[in-house]
Each structure stands twice: as C-alpha cells, then as structure tokens.
C-alpha cells in the first residue's frame, strides 16, 4: 500500500501540472499575508482611535448627570487572525452605543461603501475553500478514467493488489499532493505575517493554525473523494470534468451565494425604514400619552417648584419609555440573529460552508463571537445603571433630596435618570472589558461542523471505493 501511494505520488509530481498549481498557491498565500498585514495596521489604527474616544467619554463623566446623559460606543476588538477567515467584518455590526438606559442597535464601523471591495476576501479560507478545492478537482477528474485510457489499471489489477487498495492509495496520494503546497504556503504565509507583526509564535495562534490545517485537509479530502467517485462513474474524462465542475460551482459558489437571499426570504426582519417608523411610533405614542395624562406637564410644572418630585415622576416615565424602546431593539436584533443563522444553516448543504463556519468559529470571526460581544455590551448597560443607582442612593443619604443646590434655570434635559445635580461621583465609573470566549470553547463550538465534514468525507470515500469496485477497466 505504501509503495502504491508513493508510486501515484511520483506520477503526479512528474506531471508538471502540479508545478503551476504550486506556484499559484504560493503566490496567493503571499498575497494574503501582504493584504492582511496592511489591513492589520489599518485595524489597529482605527482600534486605537476608538479606544481613545471611549476613554475620553469615560473621562468626561464628572457627575451622575453627565453619566445619565452620555453614551459609550463599545467596539469589538480587532482580531489579528482575521487573515484566516475574514467574513466581511467591516460590514457586520460590531459596535454598539450603551447608555445607562439603553443598549442601542448594533452598528457597523463607519465604512465608505464606494470603496471597491472584491467579491471575496482573499483569506486563507478562500484560498483553501475555493482555489484548493478547485485544484483538487482538476487533479482528480481523470483519476480513474484517465488511467483506464492509459491502461495502467489493467496492468495493476494483474498484480496482487486489490481494487480497494488501488483506489485508497490514489486517494491518499492526491490528498498528500494537495497538502504539500498547503503546508508550504501556510508556512511562508506565517513567516511573512510574523515579520509584519500580525502573528507571533504563541501557543494559541499556532494551535488555531494547526487546527485550520486539519480542517482544510478534511475539506480537500472531501473534494478528492468526490473527484474519484465521479471519475469512476463516468467513462470519459471530459464528462467527468464537466460534472465535477458543475458540482463544484454548485457547492462552492451557488449554495453559499444563495444562502443570503434565501435567508432574507425565510426570516423577515424590519427594514431600516420599518425600524425607524416603529421607533417614531413609540416616541409619538409616548408623547401623546404624556400629553393625555398630563404627566409631562405636571412634571414640568413641578420642576419649577419641587425638583425631587419631578425626578420621581420623570424617572418612572422614562423607565417605561426606554423599556419599550429597548424591547423593540432587542426583538430586532433577535430576528437578525435568526436570519443570519438561517443563512448559515441553508449554506451548510455545502461542505465549504461547514468548513468556513468551523474555521470562523475557531478564529472568532463568526456570528457566535459577535453575539457574545453584544451580550456583554448589553450587560454593561446593567452595570452602568446599577452604578448610577448606587450613586443616587449615596447622594440622597447625604443630602436628603435632589433639590438642595439645584438652580432651576429651566433647562430640562432629563435623559436617562434625569439627574439635575452636578455633584462629583464618589467612585470611578465601571469600564467595559470584553472577554472573548476561550480557545477550548471555540474548538468545541466548531466540532459540530467538523464532524459533519468528517461524515461527508467518509461517505465520499466509501462511495468512491464502491464505485471503483464496479468499474469496468477495459
């Protein structure tokens, strides 16, 4: 068996078609390193800019009043391993404004859309999922039918080797022939990115790259098995190639590409117009209700006389109002999550999407990671709110009520908790710390997709062996 594998491998290496492929692959890996090195610089710049403005926002809070009136833009930290699976992170909402009352709608980083972006990002997942899978097909389409034409098969079958040994050794040889450029390319890519300072030789990153390599080999095994299967079902190499190319287009391009419009059809979310209309409606209802019940007028009238009373009425009113707004925001986000998960689910018909999902889970550039960020950001709202509550209690304990030193000039901007006091805070305000999920958790998250991929590979190999066993070598 071993000698058979090296026999096929030598045959492939002699052919010269691999050389061209190796060079193309290497170029792509270098291109990837170059692109993501410059993007990393870019990312870091914008990250430090955002951290600075968040810091300024923290620093500008001097009093409970300030805190109640300010919003903090929280941003998901940039991910150096983005070169593995990019997932159009620029177009995904990874920012959110949080006040003591609300966690706002997730927002994308400011992008200027007219800047041309390619159809696909040249990340490692693209190189493996598209280019290498294509190469796997180009290498395997004549694996059986081509050998038949040359007569090698008849010769081999006269020796003692069994049919399943032939087909398995061929499969292994093809996978090895694909692994070699992948390994060399990833190594070159890693070294270059190391020079640019994107990655460092640390255990976590190497583990992720190692797992990426294993996932990639699984995906390529699937396409190799598919190639052998189709090739042993057809008599002519050209037919086998046409079938394989169409399958490839379907699995790699059409299914993942169609998953987005399909998800839009299946799961409805509010359009931006509907969203702003709903919000406007809530605002309108709120104002109408206030007018009808006279709450706002009573509160405002009260403000001229008794600020403490005003604060109480106003607080209750705002609590209710902001709660309604928050529930709309939350349900909108929930349906957006659903939509995106449906798209991923629809795409999972294709092994490429399984691979991409697993790899994205690994690098932390997928929906689960972004969701985790937004969950923590929403929790931060609660932290801010209870901090403000504590400040409030302290203040009342000290001064009795809010009216003590307040000058009633009539400037009633009472967002949030409606503090009209400018007393200094007695403690530092809490800062947002994002804790991404650990590597173990991410690996566990990727396992479902990887196991599906393994099953696909096994099915492909078994079917391939079965088909080859019935193949007429004449």
């Amino acid at each position: 068996m071993k000698s058979l594998i090296s026999f096929w491998l030598r045959q492939y290496l002699k052919q010269g078609r691999l050389i061209v492929i190796y060079i193309l692959a290497l170029l792509l890996f270098l291109l990837n390193a170059y692109i993501y090195a410059s993007r990393w610089e870019e990312d870091q710049q914008s990250q430090s800019q955002r951290t600075r403005s968040l810091q300024e926002a923290y620093d500008s809070v001097g009093s409970p009043d300030d805190l109640a009136g300010s919003g903090f833009w929280l941003t998901m930290p940039v991910i150096p391993l983005r070169f593995i699976a990019d997932n159009n992170l620029e177009e995904v909402p990874t920012r959110r404004v949080v006040t003591t009352r609300n966690a706002g709608l997730p927002a994308t980083a400011e992008i200027h859309r007219q800047q041309i972006t390619g159809l696909w990002d040249i990340d490692l997942a693209f190189i493996v999922g598209m280019i290498f899978s294509f190469l796997a097909i180009v290498l395997t389409f004549d694996a059986v039918s081509g050998e038949r034409a040359q007569g090698t098969l008849k010769m081999l079958l006269t020796t003692r080797v069994s049919r399943y040994q032939i087909v398995l050794s061929k499969f292994v040889a093809i996978v090895i022939a694909l692994m070699l450029p992948l390994l060399v390319g990833m190594l070159a890519n890693f070294l270059l990115l190391n020079v640019f300072g994107v990655v460092s030789i640390d255990g976590g990153q190497i583990a992720i790259l190692g797992l990426f390599f294993i996932f990639a080999v699984l995906l390529l095994s699937f396409f190799a098995a598919l190639g052998i299967l189709v090739s042993s079902l057809t008599r002519s190499s050209i037919t086998s190639l046409v079938v394989l190319l169409l399958l490839w287009v379907l699995l790699v391009l059409v299914i993942p590409g169609a998953s987005k419009p399909v998800a839009k059809e299946v799961v409805a979310t509010m359009t931006p117009e509907e969203y702003s209309n709903t919000m406007a409606e809530i605002n309108g209802n709120f104002l109408g209700e206030l007018k009808r019940t006279g709450a706002i007028d009573r509160a405002a009238a009260m403000a001229r006389v008794d600020n403490f009373q005003f604060e109480r009425i106003w607080d209750g009113v705002m609590e209710d109002f902001q709660g309604r707004r928050q529930s709309v925001i939350d349900s909108h986000i929930r349906s957006s999550y659903n939509q995106s998960e449906t798209a991923a689910l629809a795409g999972r018909l294709s092994p490429n999407v399984l691979f991409k999902q697993a790899v994205s889970r690994l690098t932390g550039t997928d929906l689960a990671a972004v969701r985790e960020f937004h969950r923590q950001a929403a929790r931060f709202k609660q932290t801010l709110f209870s901090f403000l509550g504590a400040q409030d209690a302290q203040y009342v304990a000290r001064n009795g009520n809010f009216d003590a030193k307040h000058d009633s000039a009539g400037l009633l901007h009472s967002d949030g908790r409606g503090y009209l006091s400018s007393n200094p805070l007695t403690a530092k305000i809490p800062r947002f710390e994002y804790r991404p999920s650990g590597l173990g958790e991410r690996i566990a998250g990727a396992m479902a997709d990887v196991s599906a991929l393994v099953v696909l590979v096994l099915v492909g190999v078994v079917l391939g062996v079965f088909a080859f066993n019935r193949y007429d070598v004449r």
Binding site: L31, R113, I116, L119, V138, L245, K260, E273
Partner: protein
C-alpha cells in the same frame, strides 16, 4: 467551410457536457432570477411605502425648518440583474438647505442596521453569468486543436480543402454555435421568471437593454471560447491545455476581481476617509460654535412643555410670546446665513473627497479591465444603470431638486418669516397665557402652577390651538421629485468603451491563436 462549422457544432451539441451544461444553466439562472426578483420586490415595496411616508410627513408640516423631503432613487426594473443596487451607492437623500447632495444620505453611515447578513457575500446575477458562461465556453473550446492532435485526427482534418483558415474559423464558430443555445435559453428562462414577478411593465428601453445584455453575454462566451482556442493552439496535449485553461479561469474570474480589494486598500482610501472625516468634524465645530449662540438664546425662550429640542437647522417652538418671537426674528438671518455657508463649505469638502475617491476607483476598475469577465460586469451595470454614471445622474437630479425646494421656500418667505421656527399664528387662543407667563417672575409662576384650575385652562388652550388648521403649512404645490431614468443612449455611451474593449480582446486573442494555429505542428 460551413460543413466544418456544422460538423464542429454538432460534435459539441451531441455531447453529454452540452446536455449537462444546458440543464444546469437553465435551472440555476431561473432559480437565481426568482430569488433575486423576490428580494427586489421587497426593496420596491419599501420604496413605495417610503414615498407614501414622505407624502404623509409633508402633509403634517408646521414649520419651514422641518421641510426636508426625503427622496429615494428609483431603480431601473432590470436592476435585478445587476450588482445589488443601493448597497454600493446608497439610495436615499434628505433634501435640505443645509446640505448640497454629493453622496446619498445612507451611503457612509455608521449604519445602525442590526443586520448580520454582512457575514455572507452576496452573489448577484452577474456573478452567476460570469462563472457559468465562461466555464462552459472554455469547456467547449479547450481541446479544439490539441484534442484532434492527441487523437491523431488533426492531420486528416488538415487535408480538408478548406485549409487552415477555414478549419480554424470553423472550429471557433462551431464552439460558439454550441454555446449559443445555452446562453439564449437560460437567459430567456431568467428573463421570463423575472417578467412573471416584475412589479411594473417593462418600457421599450428596458426591452432594448435586455436584448443588448443577451448580446453581451454571447460576447462573454466568445471571449472565453477564444481563450480556450488560444490555449489549445499553444499545447499539444488535452490534459495540459485543460489545466492551463482552468488556471486562467481561476485567475480571470475568481482571483483578479477579488484582489481588487487589495489594490484599493493600497491606494489609501482609508486615509482619504479619515482626512475627510477630520475636516468635516472641524467644519461642524466651526458651525456649531456659531449656531450654539443662536441655539442658546432660543433655548432660553423655550417655555415649559411641548418643546422639541433643536437639532441641526430645526427649531420648533410651539408656544412663544411676542418678545420671544421678535428676539428670535433678529437671530434668524444669522442662523440662515450660517447654515448656507456651512452647506457650501461642506459641498466643497465632499465634492473634493468624491473626486479623489472616484479617481482611485477608476484606477482599480481599469486594472480589472484585463479580465473580460469584469468587462462584462461593467457593461451590464452600465446598461441597467447600477454603475457610477447612474448614481451620479441621480445625485445630479437630487441637487436640482434641492434647488427647486430652496427656491420654493424662498418664494414663500420661509427663510425670512417666523414660520421658519414656529407654527404660532396671530390671535391664537392661548396668547393671553403666553403674555402672562412672559411677565411672571419665577416664584409667581411656581405659585400659578400650584393652581390646578389655571393649569388645566392653559392646557385646554394649548390643545385648542394645536387643532387649528392654520398651523399647518400648505405644501401641496411644493415640487415633487420625479426620478428620470437615464435614456438608453446615455447608458450605451457609458458602456461603449467596455464593449469596444471586449471586442478588441476577442479580436486579439482570436488573431494570436490563429497565427499560432498556422504554425501548429500536427505531428
């Protein structure tokens, strides 16, 4: 020669690859068209309802500073077949005297969309056509010459009296003739699916555009068939010509359009954007310094409730007295001129930014023009107005419309009367109350508000005043925006360069492969 054409095309037509390609193309094009048209219908309905909302809003306007109609770019019906419209350029513009449109309003926002579909790359009709047609064209021609050579039939064929020229042309036309039924039928399927679901009937221009798109799709096939011929005349074995064809395909169709993102990131788009944002912030700062003085005074005169805060250019006071009104009237010219100045400065800033960005975008587009697949995309986008020219024409129209709106408000005295900031009319029933309130001291006012009867009286008066129809502006003669689609001739003009380039590409490749074939060694 015609016998050769007939023989070659029949040879291609009767293969399994033709049958599979035919079926696959028809099914995928049809399905894709269905999915995209459903998506388009959402957008179309959204646009209609946005127009309705705008009308409603205009009918409820009370002050001129709020008159900011929102206009939406109406897509050409065929936009289904183009690059996702609106995604790249944005499609909505708010018309106001404080901003002269250069960009759409929704183009570059830190968009709080809550839309997580950004994870998935969108795949439009152009991509499907590019991939399928180019692949099939290569498959029909990659072994035209090397295949005959390998089978040893080339020598036999060359003995044909038609000569090498005849054979070459025959083979090329033969592969095109095999491709044509696939292109025509699958495009027709896609078009019929679209027609059945289309929200409005097609105009004559749309029909003509559809015809031209079909023709250009054939050109795309011809270009890749030529590439196949070239590769096949350069190699002597089918296997190697196939590998080369596939690699050329990967580079032209997959890698090249994707590495454009890389080129554009090297050209400094982001630096430009940062500079632009910084300048804009500075401009805002200047403007706000000026406006804040105005706002400060205005705020001082906001009497108690029902006062919506002021945002840029919008000041609304429901209930103000004569003193306040007179004072605000003295501030008004200052505010308007500050806003006008801001608008023109911002226009300068934005058009500079747009111009520099456009120059860079064009550079990347030119680099992409190496690939006939990108040329195809450009042509289709130009024909259905989802390209830069279509966007610019919309912005141009938005600018003209803004001028009309400004002139309308000017002619109604909007900028110089108190109707700019208040809906207050003479002889409103609550005027007495206001006068009273204006002369009260704070403690007196506090005491007055303790009197529930008086408070009730005031609110009843306000409510009555609010119901007064004279408070509404009559905007029925405000000019409405009517989107004018670019005429077909203009769109063709925009596409002309790419069509010519595509033809040149085909001609060059065909000639080169013809020359190669002439010296091809059949042994």
């Amino acid at each position: 020669m015609w016998t050769i054409v007939k023989k070659e095309s029949l040879e291609n037509l009767l293969t399994l690859r033709f049958v599979i390609g035919f079926l696959a193309c028809n099914i995928v094009f049809g399905l894709m068209s269905y999915v995209l048209v459903q998506d388009f219908l959402h957008e179309w309905n959204g646009m209609q309802s946005a127009e309705y909302d705008n009308e409603q809003e205009m009918a409820s306007m009370e002050v001129y500073s709020f008159v900011r109609p929102s206009i939406i770019r109406e897509p050409s019906l065929l936009a289904v077949f183009g690059t996702d419209m609106g995604k790249q350029w944005g499609k909505r513009v708010w018309i106001s005297h404080t901003r002269i449109p250069v960009f759409t309003t929704d183009e570059a926002t830190s968009g709080s969309s809550g839309d997580f579909l950004g994870f998935f790359s969108s795949f439009d009709f152009i991509n499907v056509v590019q991939i399928f047609i180019s692949l099939l064209a290569l498959l029909f021609s990659f072994n035209a010459i090397s295949g005959e050579k390998e089978r040893g039939t080339l020598r036999l064929v060359l003995s044909n009296p038609a000569g090498r020229t005849g054979i070459f042309i025959g083979k090329y036309l033969g592969s095109l003739l095999a491709l044509a039924p696939i292109v025509v039928s699958s495009m027709a399927v896609a078009f019929v699916v679209f027609m059945v679901n289309a929200p409005a009937p097609l105009s004559a221009d749309d029909w003509a555009s559809a015809g031209i798109i079909l023709f250009v799709t054939l050109l795309l096939g011809a270009a890749f068939a030529a590439v196949g011929m070239l590769v096949s005349s350069l190699t002597h074995r089918t296997a190697s010509s196939l590998i080369i064809c596939m690699i050329v395909w990967v580079v032209l169709v997959l890698v090249l359009p994707s590495s454009v993102g890389f080129v554009s990131s090297e050209l400094g788009f982001s630096e430009d954007a940062r500079d632009y944002n910084r300048n804009l912030q500075a401009l805002y700062g200047e403007y706000n310094d000026e406006m804040n003085q105005v706002r400060y005074y205005m705020r001082d005169y906001f009497l108690m409730s029902n006062v919506n805060g002021s945002s840029e250019g919008r000041i609304i006071c429901r209930m103000i007295g004569d003193n306040a009104r007179n004072f605000l009237m003295t501030l008004l010219p200052k505010a308007i001129s500050a806003q006008n100045e801001f608008a023109s400065k911002r226009f300068g800033l934005e058009s500079d930014y747009y111009a520099s960005r456009k120059a860079k975008t064009e550079l990347t587009e030119n680099l992409m023009r190496i690939s006939p697949s990108s040329l195809f995309g450009n042509i289709v986008n130009a024909l259905i107005r989802t390209d830069a020219a279509g966007h610019e024409s919309f912005i141009e129209q938005a600018r003209n419309y803004r001028q009309e709106v400004v002139e309308y408000i000017e002619s109604h005295g909007g900028y110089t009367s108190s109707r700019w900031f208040t809906n207050d009319v003479e002889d409103a029933p609550y005027r007495e109350m206001v006068r009273l309130a204006e002369t009260m001291t704070l403690p007196e006012m506090g005491a007055a508000f303790q009197d529930p009867e008086l408070v009730q009286q005031i609110f009843t008066a306000i409510e009555e005043a609010m119901a007064d129809p004279a408070r509404k502006l009559d905007l029925s003669d405000l000019p409405r925006f009517q989107m004018r689609q670019q005429p077909l001739a203009e769109a063709l003009g925009a596409a002309a360069l790419d069509i010519i380039l595509m033809s040149v590409f085909i001609a060059v490749i065909v000639v080169v492969s013809y020359i190669r074939f002439f010296s091809y060694d059949p042994r």
